[in-house]
């Protein structure tokens, strides 16, 4: 696959990408400096809001009729570590989601009163800067380094604003898993760079260069597994998900999961750095990956059913659905690629919504144990409805963006793997519907349990309603009008699909 790019001067009067990366970084530092200022919250929200507008501006300037990377910026720093940023439709979809999510989390954190506010906003904006940088860099090594820095921040967030006494243990486990992931990624990246040096005589981690360097199939397989597991540990993907339930139960409830699980970096990275680089290995191994994905869908769905804690239940729901995304990616079919990208966005947003709503519940009940919850609908109906709609998006109910996405994945998988695998995956999906519905019913509609405090539950505040309303509006409007998103990713995915022949025509 041949990467091409257009310089930023062609689409835009200012260098968009560097602005997107530096603005939140500057904001983060400013937050630390402003510490006790009264205007702190407003400035934080302002930065997140302006970032959102900048991404929208970039979306408007982006030309979606071509697969060429756009808004490219280059700066030669240290040989293979040169700064090289550019985006295509796939990156923009993820950047839109990032900006939206950070804005929502900023509002949430402020109303939730996460103290000290300056530190919270600073970490949040730092994460946003790292995400924006990851979505715009073309250099795999940059990506890994940024990823490491970001994990540090996220880990801090999980730990600093958690209430569980076991949070230290959870954090250790988190870093163990993520550390292994980073090591795998580093190994894979160095292998790629070495191969480039071996053949062209020059080290490089730039995907533009790497995609042109020939690789033996055996070597591709090694790189594939290193990168695949490195990226999917954090997605998370069965069977490397051991950190997730722990973090869900003992880590911070809403903020960190929304950022970390809501934005599926792993999926993006696979599409940007793995699928274009090692196509032969992927063709060789894709059935194996799909097998794991299908098993994972069921395994997680069944485990979700026996959970007694809302947070753990949501964690397994997410794990189950990541299986569908991975299945879509490795169907190696154009429709399924589209479906997988849309699913990552939808599930991401929906999962983040579930986390945020759970956080709002926790603020009132001080517990997320399902046997201690009940009757919440009478007090906070709109939060309940938002929870419900997010659940429906995960199930893939028509009218939510999840439907279009799941539908694409299933369609491609019928063509690729036949009815049996597809029906199995769809049933896993219905299973998911079962437990989400059950949890919703338990928490919101069930009778209030003995000794629970739900009698004096505070009604939703306007700012909470703002978050809920924004999410519902985004989910439903993209659900009924998905075309703009599909247009955005059509051409970039087309060039990936061409690496996997038979994906768009060969259904016989």
């Amino acid at each position: 696959m041949l990467f091409t790019e257009l310089n930023w001067t062609l689409n835009s009067p200012y260098p968009v990408l560097i602005t997107l990366q530096l603005l939140p970084l500057a904001g983060a530092l400013l937050m630390l400096a402003l510490k006790d200022s009264l205007r702190l919250k407003q400035v934080g929200l302002l930065v997140a809001g302006v970032e959102m507008l900048l991404v929208i501006d970039m979306y408007r300037r982006y030309n979606h009729t071509t697969a060429t990377m756009q808004f490219a910026e280059r700066l030669d720093l240290f040989g293979p570590f040169a700064y090289h940023a550019a985006v295509d439709g796939i990156s923009i979809v993820f950047m839109l989601l990032t900006a939206l999510m950070c804005l929502l989390v900023a509002i949430y954190g402020i109303i939730r009163g996460l103290e000290p506010t300056s530190r919270f906003l600073s970490v949040l904006l730092g994460v946003e800067a790292s995400l924006m940088a990851m979505f715009s860099t073309m250099n795999l090594m940059w990506f890994i380094v940024l990823s490491t820095a970001q994990l540090g921040l996220i880990g801090y967030m999980l730990w600093r604003w958690a209430l569980s006494p076991e949070k230290d243990f959870a954090l250790t486990r988190f870093y163990q898993f993520m550390g292994i992931g980073i090591l795998l990624l580093l190994a894979g990246t160095v292998a790629l760079g070495w191969n480039a040096a071996h053949i062209t005589g020059q080290w490089s981690f730039d995907v533009f260069v790497l995609s042109q360097v020939p690789m033996l199939v055996g070597f591709q397989s090694v790189v594939f597994f290193l990168l695949f597991y490195g990226f999917t540990i954090r997605t998370p993907f069965f069977p490397l998900h051991g950190w997730l339930p722990l973090i869900a139960e003992h880590g911070n409830i809403a903020v960190a999961p929304a950022l970390f699980i809501g934005i599926k970096i792993g999926v993006y990275a696979l599409l940007r750095f793995v699928f274009p680089l090692v196509p032969d290995a992927i063709i060789q191994w894709h059935n194996y990956v799909v097998g794991f994905a299908v098993v994972g869908i069921f395994y997680a769905a069944l485990l979700a059913m026996v959970q007694s804690d809302l947070r753990r239940l949501i964690a397994f729901a997410i794990l189950s659905h990541t299986g569908i995304i991975v299945m879509g990616l490795f169907s190696l079919h154009h429709l399924a690629f589209q479906g997988a990208v849309l699913l990552s966005v939808t599930f991401g947003l929906a999962a983040a919504t579930l986390s945020l709503m759970t956080g709002m519940i926790f603020r009132r009940t001080r517990t997320t144990r399902l046997d201690k919850l009940g009757g919440l609908f009478d007090h906070i109906p709109l939060i309940g409805i938002t929870f419900f709609i997010a659940g429906l998006s995960i199930i893939g109910m028509p009218g939510t963006p999840g439907f279009d996405a799941v539908h694409l994945v299933l369609e491609a998988s019928i063509v690729r793997f036949g009815g049996l695998v597809t029906i199995a995956a769809a049933l896993g999906n219905v299973l998911a519907a079962g437990f989400l519905l059950w949890a919703f019913q338990r928490a919101f509609l069930g009778s209030t349990p003995e000794g629970a405090t739900s009698a004096n539950i505070e009604p939703a505040r306007p700012s909470e309603l703002l978050i809920a309303g924004l999410i519902v509006a985004v989910l439903l409007s993209t659900g009924f009008h998905i075309t703009p998103l599909m247009d955005l990713i059509e051409m970039p995915l087309e060039s990936i699909s061409q690496l996997y022949p038979g994906g768009d025509a060969g259904h016989d």
């Binding site: 028509p398 019928i414 219905v430 519907a433 075309t483 599909m486 016989d508």
Partner: protein, 503 residues
């Protein structure tokens, strides 16, 4: 001027008005206004559907007033609505039933009326969408949209202690039923690409008219038909997939139960999608349809006889009645399909009306169990009289709209599947037996409880509902041609489509 009026996209308007009403009702300042807004929107919808009916030309073949727009162009999924002789009459009758339900809920609903009436209007929008959709994906969208409303209506305003269980059971049944439907539609779309030799996704088609004209290989056709049958059988419901209906009729609010018993969306799905889209397989598997139908007729009738509660009894009797509709469909002749459409329309006014009356009774007595009833006729003569009318209409007594429909269905069944037709006759007789028996026990005889003696008869708004529905029953009963004339051309086309594909 006429051009301008005709250029108004009236079908989309009929859906949009309800959607907008359902969403904007949240803004109503107080509970009183909420009810009035809901009523206004429902009346407006009735007016719109009547205008559609007036503009409809029953002599034309194919779909009329079609409106198209691109929805998801890369997959060839379109927004497309239109009506033909089969779907047209469902629109005004559904509007009438929803209007009746809204009036009947006027004083019944005290908690969260905004959400309640909003959900009812959204549900009506989804039902109208089901009748109007000409794109399989759009149909599926509306089909699943009904679930959300039903789920909340049952779980939040249900009258039984097990309402949450009922809501979850209903929703899970329907979600599982949705999976085969989605698969069938995807298979049809892929088959279209195969037949035209085009690549996916360019060759996919979800357009109803295109799919009707696309050739379907026998193997795929068989799979598609079985998937569609399974999906619609859950919703109809056909024996043995019926167990959600009695539960919901007991636990759910009267409004939801009325709509589920009245709107036989599954039967509509069989007529509109399952059989025309896989005509060859449907005709080969006629025995399966007949077997399901007969089992449903007899099982429903016998189970109805064993019930001690009016609401459960109505649920089972509706399972029995819908079996007859399926038997009519399976005869694949003009009488059968005309009768099936007629009877499905009848359900809206007859079963819907009977259930609403049961609701009125429940509101007064707090129970619909026979043990606590008896002697209702003394204190509530009007209610008793109307109940009798709806009951005999359900039995198919001449003079009511049940008669022509049932006659056509039995006639067609006896012609093609004589044994099954005779079994159906037995079912009809049992139906008469259990209705009269129950009627005598619940309504006649001496009043046993003070609640019944002191209960007031139908109030004005209740009388209005009962009288309006009764009038429709009598008009269609004495002059069935007004229904049959409208459905004739479309029914002939339906048969012709089968004939071209006969095995």
């Amino acid at each position: 001027m006429p051009d301008m009026i005709e250029s108004i996209p009236i079908l989309s308007l009929a859906i949009l008005a309800l959607l907008a009403g359902g969403l904007l009702i949240v803004l109503a300042p107080d509970h009183r206004t909420v009810r009035w807004v809901a009523l206004t929107v429902a009346v407006l919808e009735l007016v719109l559907t009547v205008i559609i009916l007036v503009r409809f030309d029953a002599q034309l073949q194919g779909f009329q007033m079609v409106e198209k727009a691109n929805w998801i162009p890369t997959l060839n999924i379109q927004y497309q609505v239109g009506v033909d002789g089969i779907s047209i009459l469902f629109l005004p009758l559904t509007a009438v039933l929803f209007l009746a339900v809204i009036i009947a809920s006027w004083n019944m609903v005290r908690v969260m009326p905004r959400l309640y009436f909003g959900l009812l209007l959204l549900l009506e929008a989804a039902v109208m969408g089901i009748y109007l959709a000409l794109d399989t994906m759009m149909f599926f969208l509306f089909w699943e949209m009904t679930l959300i409303s039903f789920y909340f209506l049952i779980s939040l305003w249900g009258i039984g202690p097990q309402r949450r269980f009922a809501a979850a059971k209903y929703t899970l049944y329907m979600l599982i039923g949705g999976v085969p439907l989605l698969f069938a539609f995807i298979l049809l779309a892929i088959n279209h690409a195969d037949q035209t030799g085009m690549a996916i996704p360019a060759g996919l088609s979800f357009d109803y008219a295109t799919l009707l004209a696309t050739e379907l290989p026998s193997g795929t056709g068989m799979v598609v038909f079985l998937l569609l049958l399974a999906g619609f059988a859950v919703k109809t419901p056909l024996f043995p997939l019926h167990t959600w209906l009695p539960v919901v009729s007991m636990e759910g609010p009267i409004a939801a139960a009325t709509l589920m018993v009245g709107l036989k969306l599954g039967a509509y799905g069989l007529i509109r999608y399952a059989i025309p889209l896989a005509p060859e397989a449907a005709q080969q598997l006629h025995w399966l349809l007949v077997a399901l139908a007969v089992a449903g007729i007899l099982y429903g009738a016998l189970a109805a006889m064993a019930q001690t509660n009016l609401r459960r009894m109505l649920a089972y009797s509706s399972i029995s009645h819908v079996g007859l509709v399926v038997l009519g469909i399976a005869s694949f002749n003009i009488q059968g399909i005309q009768g099936a459409v007629f009877q499905t329309l009848n359900f809206i006014i007859i079963s819907g009306g009977a259930f609403l009356l049961t609701g009125f009774l429940y509101q007064r007595t707090g129970s619909t169990d026979f043990i606590s009833l008896g002697g209702v006729a003394r204190s509530m003569p009007l209610l008793t009289a109307f109940y009798f009318l709806f009951g005999i209409a359900g039995m198919g007594i001449p003079g009511t709209s049940g008669f022509p429909a049932e006659f056509l269905l039995l006639f067609s069944a006896l012609k093609t599947h004589t044994g099954a037709g005779l079994a159906a006759l037995v079912g009809v007789v049992i139906g008469a037996v259990y209705f009269l028996r129950i009627y005598r026990r619940a309504f006649l005889g001496a009043a046993t409880s003070r609640v019944i003696v002191e209960a007031a008869d139908l109030r004005k708004h209740e009388l209005l509902i009962a009288a309006a529905l009764a009038l429709l029953i009598l008009i269609a009963g004495f002059y069935p041609a007004i229904v049959l004339d409208v459905t004739r051309v479309a029914s002939e086309d339906w048969i012709a489509n089968l004939a071209t594909a006969s095995p």
